[in-house]
């Protein structure tokens, strides 16, 4: 096409963003703006990259629909990497349709993967799976193949299907070695580490031990009565009693399960469930009521029996009671869990991912920052949060190579 654009695009594809910038640094035509944007993204200046790609999309003429759609996809990828999850997804979907219609399969697939990864991050697994299904199962070049397998693995991990996750990660590792992109290999490895790092703690008979994700999966299929602090439920195999909306009942169930097979005194139950410092008669009355409610709720899986001191849990059809808890239980553990992916998050993206209000997340972040558990950089809406130490900037950035071929 244009000489200098061709030369700059070739430099970018060869992994030389500075070489690309050298060629188009002073030009402001649409393809140059787009190339500069991608080069800046690869150099880690995501804010500048976003501005450049947006101006490029504007600068392309109304008839250059494919070129504009590619800019939109690149901008969406930057948004994903900077955990700007509130990015308008309709724009990305429209760009994907445009690319499909014009036969740019590679970039259309790339757009689909970006959307699937966003859905995965915010926990909308069914929708992420639907997008993968739409993209089909035809063979892909190594780099996009890695991304597809990472999404498949991510969905399997969140669905507690660790075997499927390991198979997908095996395929991802193979494709990453074919692609020869270090960032991709690193991403596969870090996802693998998730499977080899304790995902939960198991508390039983007053003892506790760490559990890998695979063992959590086994537990779900086992005969034991499990008090699950992740889902605020009490379950045995397929029978699930959800106490998500009844925190007091769940707290009682947990205290009883941790003590099992021993019983728990009324004082200990009241202290554990009501957080009451001084127990009075009104608390005793309340305990009677709550135990009655808990008994009714737990009926399918367990009984709550009165003892001389207080109460005890009696599971049905099993002789095992276990509590499944987070590896580290502290306030704001859920916020820290998201931040531990090593990427910079905006507070609004965290709120989206956690399904809570931005205000709540902001309070949690401020508290965590005071104890140096999280760090922030940037100001105002561009502010991002990470867990220290700060790992190298984005590994996830795989801007589409053939962005500027035509």
């Amino acid at each position: 096409m244009e000489s200098l654009i061709t030369a700059a695009a070739r430099a970018l594809e060869a992994g030389d963003p500075l070489g690309a910038l050298n060629r188009v640094a002073l030009r402001n035509d649409a393809p140059s703006l787009a190339l500069r944007g991608i080069a800046m993204a690869q150099l880690g200046d995501l804010a500048k990259a976003k501005t450049l790609l947006r101006s490029a999309a504007r600068a392309f003429g109304p008839r250059e629909a494919v070129a504009r759609a590619r800019c939109v996809v690149a901008e969406a990828e930057i948004a994903l990497v900077s955990r700007d999850l509130g990015w308008p997804t309709k724009t990305l979907a429209a760009a994907r349709t445009t690319l499909e219609k014009h036969g740019d399969v590679a970039n259309a697939t790339h757009a689909g993967h970006i959307e699937a990864r966003r859905l995965l991050l915010v926990g909308r697994l069914d929708e992420a799976e639907r997008i993968l299904a739409e993209l089909g199962t035809s063979p892909l070049p190594p780099a996009p193949q890695v991304v597809r397998e990472l999404v498949v693995a991510g969905i399997a991990i969140r669905r507690l299907r660790t075997k499927d996750a390991r198979v997908a990660l095996g395929r991802a590792a193979h494709a990453a070695s074919l692609a020869g992109i270090p960032g991709l290999t690193a991403e596969v490895e870090s996802t693998n580490r998730v499977l080899d790092t304790p995902a939960a703690r198991l508390i039983t008979h007053g003892n506790e031990r760490p559990l890998l994700l695979e063992q959590v999966e086994e537990l779900a299929a086992s005969d034991a009565l499990v008090v699950d602090t992740f889902h605020h439920s009490v379950r045995r195999r397929g029978t699930i009693v959800s106490l998500g909306t009844r925190p007091v009942l769940f707290a009682l169930a947990r205290v009883l399960a941790q003590a099992w097979p021993a019983d728990v005194s009324r004082e200990a139950l009241m202290a554990g469930a009501f957080q009451a410092r001084h127990v009075d008669e009104s608390h005793r009355a309340r305990l009677r009521v709550e135990i009655g409610r808990l008994r009714a709720k737990l009926k399918p899986v367990a009984d709550v029996t009165a003892t001389k001191q207080g109460f005890a849990l009696t599971p049905r059809k099993t002789r095992q009671v276990m509590v499944l808890a987070r590896p580290v239980e502290e306030k704001h553990a859920a916020v820290l869990a998201f931040l531990s992916d090593g990427e910079p998050w905006s507070s609004s993206a965290l709120a989206l991912a956690l399904g809570t209000s931005a205000r709540t997340v902001q309070r949690a972040l401020d508290e965590l920052a005071r104890s140096n558990k999280v760090q922030s950089f940037g100001h105002g809406r561009a502010r991002r949060w990470m867990t220290p130490p700060v790992p190298g900037f984005p590994t996830g950035l795989l801007l589409p190579g053939p962005l500027l071929k035509t």
């Binding site: 096409m1 244009e2 030369a7």
Partner: protein
């Protein structure tokens, strides 16, 4: 203005290691095409690559009867077709926004893509002698029998058009099928055009309409 559908006679390629075709020329026996870091000569009968020269080749290609001319970054390089050695270099008139290249009547003709212009350039000094305006993004440029033809690409449409070299007025137009790109253009002096296929990495032969037919 006459308008008709382009008749594609033959497709060459795809070629191993070639991602895109940036320029095309014809030396009387072989079709040369620019593929980024190489100039490749194909035998138009067998369709096979006969030889390749390792030179920067980012846009248009031309042949003056003895030398190849090739746009690389923001320069036009004069290349010895036998050895591939760069003999001389002049600045490209578009400063790197250059696309097509042709040789005719002692001048080089350079398409400036997004500026929609064709410049007549002194091949020794690079001086712009005159400029013709087109209506579309200019890709390949070629002269045959005193006719100036150029390829266009804008939006998703490509065509090959003959324009009046004095006024830039479109005299004749050959439409390519939607999504088919012309990234370089050269006449064989007879009834064939050779066109680069851009990012699809092919070279196509298109029939040139007969005069008075």
């Amino acid at each position: 203005m006459k308008r008709s559908a382009a008749e594609i006679i033959r497709e060459y390629g795809p070629f191993a290691g070639v991602e895109a075709v940036h320029g095309v020329t014809y030396d009387g026996s072989h079709v040369w095409f620019a593929s980024g870091d190489k100039l490749n000569a194909i035998d138009p009968d067998s369709g096979k690559v006969a030889r390749s020269l390792d030179v920067a080749a980012h846009a248009g290609t031309a042949f003056d009867g003895r030398h190849l001319f090739q746009i690389a970054e923001d320069r036009i390089q004069k290349i010895d077709a036998a050895s591939g050695k760069v003999l001389a270099s002049i600045p490209a008139p578009g400063g790197g926004g250059d696309s097509g290249l042709a040789w005719a009547e002692g001048s080089l003709w350079v398409g400036q893509y997004r500026e929609r212009k064709i410049h007549q350039v002194d091949p020794d000094t690079g001086k712009v002698l005159r400029t013709i305006e087109s209506k579309r993004f200019v890709t390949g440029v070629t002269w045959v029998d005193g006719e100036l033809w150029h390829g266009t690409w804008e939006g998703e449409d490509s065509d090959i058009r003959r324009i009046d070299p004095d006024t830039g007025k479109v005299l004749e137009l050959l439409d390519l099928p939607a999504g088919t790109m012309v990234s370089g253009l050269e006449s064989d002096g007879g009834d064939r055009f050779f066109c680069g296929g851009g990012a699809n990495g092919n070279v196509r032969a298109v029939r040139r309409p007969r005069r008075g037919a």
